[in-house]
Amino acid sequence: MNITEMKELLDNKTTTSLKLFEESKKKALYSQEKINSFVTIMEDFTKEESNSLLNGIPYAIKDNFSTKNILTTASSNILKNYIPVFDSTVYKKLKKAGAVLVGKTVLDELAMGGSGLTGHTGAVKNPWDQTRISGGSSAGSAACVSEGVVPFSIGSDTGDSVRKPASFCGVVGFKPTYGRISRFGLFPFASSLDHVGIFARNVFDIAAVTDVIKGFDSNDMTTLPDEEINYTDILKENIKGKKLFYIKEIIESAKENESKEIIALFKKQIEKLKNNGIQIEEVSFDKTILETLFPVYFIISCAEATSNNSNLTGFIFGNRMPGSSPKEVMINTRTEGFSEMIKRRFVIGSYILERENQEKLFINAKRVRRMLVEKMNKLFEKYDGLILPASGLVAPKIDESKEPDKLSSEYLILENHLVIGNFGGYPSITLPMGYVKDMPVGINLTCKAQADALCLNIASHLEEIIGIKDICAGGRKDV
């Protein structure tokens, strides 16, 4: 059931929010063995009264959002016993809207990673095929929506952490413009790239949730002023004359057969969209710049992450280890608390920020980021959106012999282009476009900054034209 369907049942008293919660909770518990998407499943039903569309709707939230009195681990051993004393703005708004929390979902440790395999409570599996990954870092949030446990969930997206797992799990994943949703209470990974994101099984639900959690927040200086608009109201507006583009070099970078199949599917959908009156053009983009996408992302995110996570020392909160001096306590706590991969990112981040490297690595990376954003902004003057396959792969197989998120010596621009959305703080949405190898594949639409309404409006039409909507794992709808 999606939000609208649940709402209808609630309104005509066929069910109650308590019943919806109990059902969700049951599914959550039942699904744990299969996909392991939750760190915490709520014992008790708690709900505030509201007139919101989300009143009484069960949902899940990624375990890196601060929730007062509810364990919040960021899927890291260093925070495995951490119970926050304050609410994140997103959680607070959902609570106020009457939404009912079912559970806190697994992420890649501290939101760093794209596999869903590195959380301290174990790997999250793809609901469509448990031998495959869900993608990450918002692994549990994507998987539990795909599994049908809840109609929507909250994630965070620093590189593609909502929009990639959405593709792998066959759900809709959206991150609005940087600053549209408050980051207050979201555990920071890389502050200049971090976004709050939403998973649901259709674009309307995404818009409904965004309407509730968006808005200026005096606790987050980077939030945008409020807009006088409800996204759910504009989804059906005519998009005649809207122009989209895709980037030739990204499409042509597909090498493997699987990727080529995905590109073929993408092209098929592009034709379908064109036939439905949407203009789509191919645009050529400097490949050298595209090849910097991942290195630039990695440099900026590791640098910011190492600083952002310096508060995890065990002094005031966290899993404190003994030591004979404050310094030793800190070293022991961090040594014990982080996995190898996290430590590696911190070492890299620290190296990047060192005086002698900062100009060459960090400052240059920021320059390239700005250059790329300027180029994109130029294109957004001419086009209403960028459309691309969200990934050149279906969810990869879990391979325990292979280290997750291993750095590649190749440029995988088809895999890494979603980060453009984070560089520019653009609204960006992934929605299902079909199947390859019996696995869902997503298409991504990215629009210019602050054009969230436009992005959702176009996405709603794409969803209609493509014809895949409200699917759960295995519940394949052929197109």
């Binding site: 005096s218 200086m221 909160f317 404050p326």
Partner: protein, 473 residues
């Protein structure tokens, strides 16, 4: 012969209502961990909210110290791990400090000297740590308190110069009302950088840094000690080590803490959670207008009004005193008289009783009224001293005291004339003596008149009228 080259880093906690990046109360208290919030403790997910008042106050000080000020507000992160730093980084200003290339003018031995301010920036304070034998205690009340750091050029050569500079700086801080600047409460802390060089040297010597000095007296002792220590090393032909040293107060020596201070890499980078905010010319102008007339300028003005240089210095040492004096001047008192009364009687009372100037009962208006009574000869200077003392002690206005004590002088010529004639009538013998040429008998008669008036008659008038009346006979 070696001379010392000294530079200072002065940290000053601002007297804002709330902390630098949170809404916790910024107030000195002895109860540990009471003024704290999730932001001060750096719980995961918190974001900084810069304090506008702190921005304004530090810009005000930068301007008062003649600094160049930037056109934007921009903060950086200084990354390092220490138990007193909850976030693991301090938000400070490196790229774009609020003040650059300023100076402070100070009068030393009658001449005005300029001391360079290299930089002034705004940051947040760390928690307070107390190290016990087997454990360390942390008080986060101080964590996140707005802190201004003032870095001087290496422009001092001797300890007295440094102390005079610090006293003047503290005075300006207080004049600008940006900090209580109390050393006792740790609101003003000084780092001293010191090296020795020969007059013929062209480069500075290797320096030692002594951090976190809480009192000016210690600053003085430390500099004296370091000059001696480093000179001895150099005279032996050895090398001074670049290091951070710590002052051991009971032994009056400095000891090494860690070497190679420059080896720490703070990995500064721009704080991503605080958007860059422009500082308009109008805004900066409005801050500039709030800077009061500063001590040196006031001192010059007082001297031009005829106040003794020594007293002028005393008047400006405390802004409250100077403001009191300024207010009295507006009431058209004689500048010299008012200065005398303030610097001797009033400040004498304040010092003897060890009270704060702001706690005295006397107002500038009371002082002005008292001075008017003296000049209109309704009380004598001698009586005024008593009035002043009683006003301060018993918290009564001069008018009340004069009335209570029946001090009003008789200055009305007719009344005095009456008493004079009465006395002359009663003492015909003495009048005759006077008439016979022994004019110094007049002294006796003046005494009789004053006695008859119970001491209230104005002596000068008595003498004048007595002379007239006796000669009329």
């Amino acid at each position: 012969m070696y001379k010392a080259v000294i530079g200072l880093e002065v940290h000053c906690e601002l007297n804002t209502k709330t902390k630098m990046f949170s809404s916790s109360i910024n107030e000195y208290t002895k109860d540990p961990n009471t003024n704290i919030s999730v932001i001060d403790l750096a719980f995961p997910g918190i974001l900084p909210l810069p304090n506008k008042e702190a921005v304004k106050k530090s810009l005000k000080l930068a301007m008062a110290l003649n600094c160049e000020t930037p056109s934007i507000v921009l903060f950086d992160r200084k990354n390092y791990y220490y138990a007193d730093l909850p976030k693991g980084y301090q938000i400070t200003q490196m790229t774009c400090p609020f003040g650059k290339n300023g100076y402070l003018e100070i009068e030393i031995d009658g001449t005005i000297k300029k001391y360079g301010i290299h930089q002034l920036h705004l940051e947040e304070d760390t928690a307070n740590m107390e190290h016990l034998e087997t454990e360390s205690l942390l008080d986060y009340n101080r964590a996140g308190v707005p802190l201004v750091e003032i870095i001087t050029d290496p422009c001092f050569n001797e300890e007295n110069e440094v102390i005079t500079f610090l006293e003047n700086l503290r005075n300006i801080i207080k004049y600008c009302d940006i900090s209580e600047a109390s050393s006792d409460k740790g609101q003003l802390r000084v780092d001293v950088n010191i090296s020795m060089m020969k007059d013929t040297d062209t480069v500075l010597g290797t320096r030692a840094e002594i951090k976190g000095i809480n009192s000016f007296n210690n600053v003085k002792e430390i500099i004296t000690y370091e000059i001696k220590r480093q000179t001895e090393i150099l005279e032996k032909g050895e090398k001074v080590i670049q290091e951070t040293r710590r002052w051991v107060d009971d032994k009056k020596i400095t000891v090494s803490m860690r070497e190679k201070v420059d080896a720490i890499d703070y990995k500064y980078y721009v704080e991503p959670n605080i958007p860059v905010v422009p500082l308009s010319k109008e805004y900066k102008e409005s801050i500039k207008e709030e800077i009061p007339v500063l001590p040196l300028e006031r001192e010059k003005k007082y001297i031009s009004l005829g106040v003794l240089p020594k007293d002028a210095k005393t008047l400006v040492r405390n802004k409250e005193v100077s403001d009191f004096y300024e207010e009295a001047l507006l009431l058209e008192v004689d500048p010299k008289d008012a200065s005398n009364w303030i610097t001797t009687r009033i400040l004498g009372y304040v010092n003897n009783n060890n009270i704060s100037f702001s706690d005295i009962y006397m107002t500038p208006l009371m002082l002005a009224n008292m001075l008017k009574m003296i000049s209109s000869k309704s009380i004598s200077t001698q009586q005024a001293k008593e009035v002043c003392a009683l006003c301060l002690e018993e918290k009564k206005t001069p008018e009340e005291i004069v009335k209570e004590k029946g001090m009003e002088q008789i200055s009305d010529p007719e009344s005095i004339k009456e008493i004079v004639n009465k006395v002359l009538n009663e003492n015909p013998e003495q009048v005759n003596i006077y008439k016979n040429g022994k004019t110094n008998i007049i002294g006796f008669l003046v005494g009789q008149v004053l006695k008859a008036s119970e001491g209230k008659a104005n002596p000068a008038l008595v003498s004048k009228i007595l002379n007239e009346e006796i000669n009329n006979r």
